[in-house]
Amino acid sequence: MTTPLIGVSKSLLKIKELINHVANTCLNVLITGETGVGKEVVAQNLYEESPRTEHNFVKINCAALPETLLESELYGYEKGAFTGAHKKRPGKFQSAHKGVLFLDEIGDMPLSLQSKMLHVLQSGEFSPLGSDQDFKTDVWVIAATNHDLEKRIKQKQFREDLFYRLNIIKIDIPPLRERTEDIPLLVEYYFKLYKSEYPNNPGSKPDEDTMVRLCNYPWPGNVRQLQNCIKKQMVINSWDKVFDEMPAEDSHAIVPDISAHDSVKKGETRNLHPDFANDRISLISEFVDLSTSSEKLLQEISLKKIKKKASDRVEKEVITFVLEKVGWNRSRAAKILKVSYKTLLYKMSEFDINPPSK
């Protein structure tokens, strides 16, 4: 059964209305929002209201699988296509034919697969791995991400042309802390649901004060976190204990923009400010081409090479800086830099440092 979209906030009502107007168009949809806001629920609601319910709703998580596996999952393969392909296997594009293909975490799809995806979306054709036959496909593609794709385009981690092709209809789901009026209804709904699933559990509904507390909490994990809290309450039957075990109420101040960066959701850098993570990516991208496939990337990353590139760059800047200070007097610059005149000339030619032409 599809989970309904629960809430009375203006933003949620607008999303429901938008679904209602576009579900029959089957135009590509991009759903954005932080982890746990309910992107898959929106995708399922689109499917339920579309003319495609006779066919499958197929989901694939682009972040959960390594590149080669993701490719064979999407497009399928022929017997003998690669070691271990003992028999032919259809991909998600085939299973979703005439139905919906929900590409979750599209922002994490490797660049090499992004170009193949773009080709399929443009032509409506694909071929399974190891096959020279093209299959026509009629799938409604609904993609979701918690990344800021425009930022990822700037970082060369997401293809701009794929972005525009997916972003025909854009549904942005605001975080729960920005639509607190939905919280009482969500609590009511999930309380009833879990109570019906586990009628013998002791849990009790929140009283008025607890509800105020629930509405004031920032919910960094959004609806999913709220669901977990209700489940927990049903077992331990103490809202105070549930609150005690929740992350600090100001935790969203530490992670203000989960949607904009990669590692928080994977739990790798829980308390790292997103700007640091983005700085890291942009720093690395200066020395490594992050737009290559992950396999190639791993081959190309070498600490030695990166060290050389990084030190060359800094050396070049420092030498230029000193030369400018001393009016391009090379012997003075060599003295300041504490290298021989010959070394300086060599470095200048290696890094192609030239005085400004007059």
Binding site: L18, H21, T25, L27, E160, Y164, I168, I169
Partner: protein, 130 residues
């Protein structure tokens, strides 16, 4: 006197919207505006207003111009469409694929848009009510 030509202009930039609106109003057109594709689609589906020509931006929230064009071409095939974009080639190419009648790149000259409207609607035909 012929009925004025009815335009629906869609852009998420309110300055552009009011400039266009003032210009075409002063030229004797009947103008309605919408701030994104979703608002425009609702206006079209209400059927209370009929339009002769849709002028739309492409990169917008909710329903993009490309989305709006695809829907309109299917549901209201007679409505002429002029697409405008300031985001380089890709949205423009998608608009052509969605069968926009004309695709223009911003900044666009308002008089040029008017020429396109007249050419698209073949105004001599419209004047048969005279």
């Amino acid at each position: 006197m012929a009925d004025p030509i009815r335009l629906l202009i869609v852009d998420d930039n309110e300055d552009i919207l009011s400039t266009f609106s003032e210009f075409f109003n002063s030229m004797g057109y009947n103008v309605k505006t919408a701030v994104d594709g979703f608002v425009a689609l609702k206006l079209l589906r209400e059927k209370a207003h009929d339009f002769d020509c849709l002028i739309t931006d492409l990169v917008m929230p909710n329903i993009s111009g490309v989305g709006l064009i695809s829907i309109v071409k299917k549901e209201y095939p007679d409505l002429k469409i002029i697409a405008m974009t300031g985001y380089g080639d890709q949205p423009g190419a998608l608009a052509s694929e969605a069968r926009a009648d004309v695709v223009l790149f911003k900044p666009v000259d308002l008089f040029k848009i008017e020429e396109k409207i007249i050419a698209l609607l073949d105004v001599s035909n419209l004047k048969k009510h005279e």
